[in-house]
């Protein structure tokens, strides 16, 4: 699913890197705990979207460590400048939505976006 389609489903805004709208995202993973993302398994370098309510720069760094190209920040909290600056440094797209986590995941899942592979 292209990043632009994802953005449109959750009525989101690009906070950074709208040029990435054509990125083809294969999977999504949703969490508010950064360590949790580190259980993700990367298969065949498919692109993963990180869905989170965390607005601080660590979310961007977590994505960068895992080569995740885009983050969808939910719950509508304002995203501070340091986070956007970090996204610019790392080249990671940020989409921001006021939709809550449950609705965001539910809508994307039912639109066909797949769960990301992970294991304990």
């Amino acid at each position: 699913m292209h990043l632009e389609e994802i953005r449109s489903i959750v009525n989101g805004d690009y906070l950074y890197k709208e040029e990435s709208r054509d990125l083809n995202i294969a999977h999504a993973f949703a969490t508010d705990l950064m360590s949790d993302t580190l259980f993700l398994i990367r298969r065949d370098e498919e692109l993963i979207l990180l869905i989170t309510g965390v607005t601080n720069p660590s979310a961007v760094r977590t994505a960068a460590i895992l080569d995740i190209p885009a983050i969808l920040i939910v719950r509508g909290k304002p995203v501070p400048a340091p986070t956007i600056e970090e996204a610019e440094r790392q080249g990671i797209s940020i989409i921001h939505t006021t939709y809550l986590m449950f609705s965001t995941c539910a809508l994307l899942y039912n639109a066909g976006l797949k769960d990301a592979p992970w294991k304990i």
Binding site: F29, T31, M101, F102, Y109, D115
Partner: protein
Amino acid sequence: MLLKDIAQLQDCKQLTTADLERKATGVYASDMLSAAMARAEPDWLWITIQGHKNILGVASIKGLAGILLAEGVQPDLETLAVAEREHIAIFSSPETAFELSGRIYKLLNNNGD
């Protein structure tokens, strides 16, 4: 949607005694306690991977219908004992919050809730 529908999700485990006929009128997903405290509504189901004791306080104060722990998280025995005493329904599923949200959304809509 009833708690029964949650209990019947594939591979879902019921960890405490629960009134399975209780209705869950909505769902809130977050791993941050303050977010759940602020936005979860009474009689909603809370999806999270936080398994520590503090989740019980949130569930009680907000009058949640229950807690659904994702990614196979299970609270320790002490937490489960307190949950039993406080009559808090706790379920655990091996699926991620993303997947569970997707499936439960369908349940909520199918039931016309």
